[in-house]
């Protein structure tokens, strides 16, 4: 054994108490789904975790009605400071149960425990703490002296950051005085169901938060329900587009957080070792299942070979394997379907003539895995330069001048994120002004904070989550009529 063959350091799962099956969380209690049930499996082992209910249209109706009742009878009658107390309580319980939630997320999603433990769960708690503080200060949100809640919010979250996306949706909605019906992704329902237990533990009034599990059909029923006032969706651009179409002509408000093909731009004067780290965290964090991933690397042409060499050397040190092992850097791809999509796009990249390089890590026999991969000789016309892969695959291109970097970075139907690596502050600011992306990081990447608004341009969606701006998505300005129908 050599030093770098670190001995197994598995996080214990003993802390976790998963029930053999879960119903839907409606009106403050778990009820059986009237539709079918389906299994959720661990993507790293393909082992069965638990069985969850699939909400059909009748279940959706029941959940929306429970949320409406809670809004009318309880939640809209509470003062902001009372709502804030519940949110603070939830935030503290999340902190207390963070290890359990991290293990559950790792098992269900496949992402490494070091990420769920060090990134996801601290951010989940931070989001609830942040918006708990806003609950009694809404008159300072820039929306007039007495902004009003919208009513019932339908929220659909993706599988890449299951509990964190739940927090991004539920915390501001509740702080602003709305009640919610939330649907987690069908491959990652576990932490949302544990969150339902936390709502019970916090004594949250029944019906304020309703969690319904299911696949696309459940989501479609939810956004089509006439009883909702607001849709908040994070997921793929095609689904976002169909939601926007189904809501057209109604007065249901919508915020959509969709795909991206972020450019990470490295100038020749960058702090090179830190830029390499930023490239790595930009695309290999969370197996690249990040909508704001820096999936296009734009490197100044004169340092291309040096950057590639350093990047490849660094990627060889990434440890792929059991996501519960505390030393694992790269976990499992979330599902077989996603693995097939990644593989298909990578095959397309090779067929189009880009040069593929993958790190030497050995893939486990069971589960869904993909090696960290870098494409060089990529041209802007290649599919791997245009389409969102949503996996650990980086497409490396070059530029010669700042103007060319801006033109190439903006040459995408998306516009969610971008990164700039330079030691020259004036260039950094000029680039940031010229880039068409909702989030721009300078000399860092994939950093999130509840106080900072997040959202995209063009096909990356509309609306902002996080910060004061995130409240606007759940409030009507003082002079508007609001509060349900």
């Amino acid at each position: 054994m050599t030093f770098l063959d670190y001995a197994p350091a598995p996080e214990s799962t003993a802390i976790l108490d998963i029930k053999p099956s879960y119903g839907l969380f409606i009106g403050g209690e778990f009820v059986d789904a009237r539709g079918d049930s389906f299994a959720t499996i661990s993507p790293s082992t393909e082992e069965h975790i638990t069985t969850v209910g699939e909400a059909n249209a009748a279940d959706v109706d029941r959940a929306v009605k429970a949320a409406r009742l809670a809004y009318d009878k309880t939640w809209s009658k509470l003062s902001g400071s009372e709502r804030g107390k519940y949110l603070f309580r939830i935030a503290r319980i999340i902190q207390e149960r963070s290890r359990e939630l991290a293990v559950a997320e790792t098992i269900d999603n496949g992402k490494p425990i070091r990420e769920t433990r060090d990134v996801d769960m601290p951010l989940v708690a931070a989001w609830f703490f942040y918006y708990a503080g806003w609950a009694d200060k809404l008159e300072y949100a820039g929306l007039g002296p007495k902004p009003q809640a919208l009513g019932v919010a339908a929220q659909i979250v993706p599988w890449n950051f299951p509990l964190l996306m739940l927090a991004w949706k539920i915390a501001p909605a509740l702080a602003a005085g709305n009640t919610v019906v939330l649907k987690p992704a069908e491959t990652t329902p576990l932490t949302a169901l544990l969150f339902a237990e936390i709502c019970q533990q916090a004594g949250l009034p029944e019906g304020v938060v309703n969690i319904i599990t299911g696949a696309g059909g459940t989501g479609a029923s939810l956004v089509a329900h006439p009883g909702i006032n607001k849709v908040a969706f994070t997921g793929s651009t095609p689904v976002g587009r169909s939601i926007a179409a189904s809501l057209a002509g109604t007065d249901v408000r919508a915020t959509l957080e969709l795909g991206g093909k972020g450019a990470n731009i490295v100038f020749d004067d960058a702090a090179i070792d830190q830029a390499i780290e930023g490239i790595v965290s930009g695309i290999f964090f969370n197996q690249g299942h990040v909508c704001c991933a820096g999936s296009r690397l734009l490197v100044q042409e004169n340092i291309h070979d040096d950057v590639l060499h350093r990047l490849q050397r660094r990627l060889q040190t990434l440890r792929l394997g059991d996501p519960l092992d505390k030393n694992t850097d790269i976990g499992a791809v979330n599902s077989k379907a996603q693995l097939e999509r990644i593989s298909a796009l990578v095959d397309a990249g090779e067929a189009e003539g880009a040069t593929r390089w993958s790190s030497d890590c050995v893939l486990p026999a069971k589960g869904f895995w993909f090696q960290p991969t870098v494409f060089t000789n990529v041209h802007t016309s290649h599919r791997v330069a245009q389409e969102e892969i949503f996996g650990p695959v980086l497409s490396m291109m070059t530029f010669r001048t700042p103007e060319e970097a801006i033109a190439k970075a903006n040459n995408t139907p998306y516009g969610l994120s971008a990164g700039i690596w330079t030691e020259k502050a004036s260039r950094m600011l000029a680039m940031a002004n010229a880039l068409r992306a909702g989030v721009i990081w300078a000399n860092t990447f994939n950093k999130f904070d509840p106080a900072s608004p997040f959202g995209g341009y063009q096909e990356s969606g509309y609306g902002r989550e996080g910060g004061r701006h995130g409240l606007a998505a759940y409030l009507e300005a003082s002079d508007q009529k609001a509060g349900g129908r």
Binding site: M1, T2, F3, L4, D5, Y6, A7, P8, A9, R114, D118, D269, A270, A271, I272, D273, Q274, A275, E277, G278, T317, K326, N327, E423, N443, T444
Partner: protein, 335 residues
């Protein structure tokens, strides 16, 4: 010095700066090195610190740490008795467990070298390959504020007393004022002073005193400068200035060592010193070394810990791993 004056010529400087290099050429080169982003460097170090070394990895790591310790005493109150106690400890760190490896070296002031050599006897590295070396601080350690003549005499004395390794300090005042040629030439001169009568050289460790250089950009430049001038090892600190060794500083220096190796194939050693007291911290340094320059650097020839209290903490952890329970400080020897 006149920026156009030629520097002392070394093979390494020749490789990078070309023949007849001047201070201007050195300055241009060092200013052209990519910068270090402090926030990113700290994040990288924190990443290494989050590695989890358990069971067999921890046990092997603890023994590796012991074998890399430069067991150090650098006090005005040092006596022959004190350094000889330390030398005994260096040979047999844990008398209750003969499987415990010896440390790499004993590190003392130059006037204590002969006492340490005498105490080591047959356990000195000249007598057996796994023996203990003697390192001496020199060049008006720790401040380095003395004339070059005194620094060289200090070095020559320690070498003539039998020091295997010399830990020199750079002139931080000269470095901070931009007199990089002066710092460079002094290192070259000290290296020459490490030459023994038989033509061999004592190993030269160059202490940057990173706590006084303050920025990671300076640390990176000083690392390149020391290597170009002929350092066998680069070392963070004297232990007399806070902060001493930190993980971000060490990683920054290791990156220079890695880049030098990629450029020339030559392996430079690294020695963090001061402030590393817990086994847990030391294990993090091993991770940083293995994941930055590669695990073939995990040998006393290429990596050392400058430490005193660290050894006892490692011994207690080692006893814990063997017996399953913590023993406590009364079960390791004070020195």
């Amino acid at each position: 010095m006149n920026p156009a004056t030629a520097l002392a010529q070394t093979p390494r400087a020749h490789t990078v700066l070309g023949p007849g290099a001047t201070e201007k050429a050195l300055t241009t080169f060092l200013n052209g090195i990519p910068g270090v982003d402090t926030v990113g460097a700290h994040a990288r170090a924190a990443g290494f610190a989050s590695r989890s070394l358990k069971t067999t990895s921890k046990a092997a790591g603890l023994d590796t740490i012991i074998s890399m310790v430069d067991l150090t005493t650098l006090e005005g109150a040092d006596t022959v008795g004190k350094v000889q106690t330390l030398a005994r400890k260096a040979v047999s760190p844990d008398v209750g467990d003969p499987s415990t490896p010896s440390v790499a070296a004993v590190c003392v002031y130059g006037d204590m070298v002969s006492a340490v050599r005498e105490s080591l006897g047959a356990h000195h590295i000249s007598q057996r390959p796994d023996g203990v070396a003697v390192a001496a601080v020199a060049t008006a350690f720790p401040s380095g504020r003395a004339s070059l003549a005194i620094k060289l005499a200090d070095t020559q004395f320690a070498v003539s007393e039998g020091a295997d390794e010399i830990d020199m300090v750079i002139d931080r005042g000269a470095f901070l004022s931009g007199s990089w040629g002066l710092v460079y030439d002094q290192i070259v001169a000290v290296k020459e002073a490490c030459k023994r009568e038989d033509g061999s050289f004592a190993h030269l460790k160059v202490i940057l005193e990173t706590g006084e250089l303050a920025t990671l950009d300076n640390v990176r430049r000083a690392s390149w400068l020391a290597i170009l001038a002929g350092a066998d090892f680069i070392k963070t600190s004297t232990g007399k200035v806070a902060p001493a060794a930190t993980l971000p500083v060490t990683v920054t220096m290791l990156e220079v060592i890695r880049d030098w190796h990629a450029l020339t194939g030559e392996k430079i050693g690294m020695k963090p010193a001061g402030g590393i007291r817990a086994s847990k911290d030391a294990l993090r340094y091993l991770v940083a070394v293995a994941e930055t320059v590669g695990e073939h650097w995990l040998t006393p020839d290429l990596f050392r810990f400058g430490a005193s209290s660290l050894l006892n903490d490692v011994l207690m952890q080692r006893q814990k791993m063997r017996t399953g329970h913590y023993s406590g400080p009364d079960y390791v020897s004070v020195d």
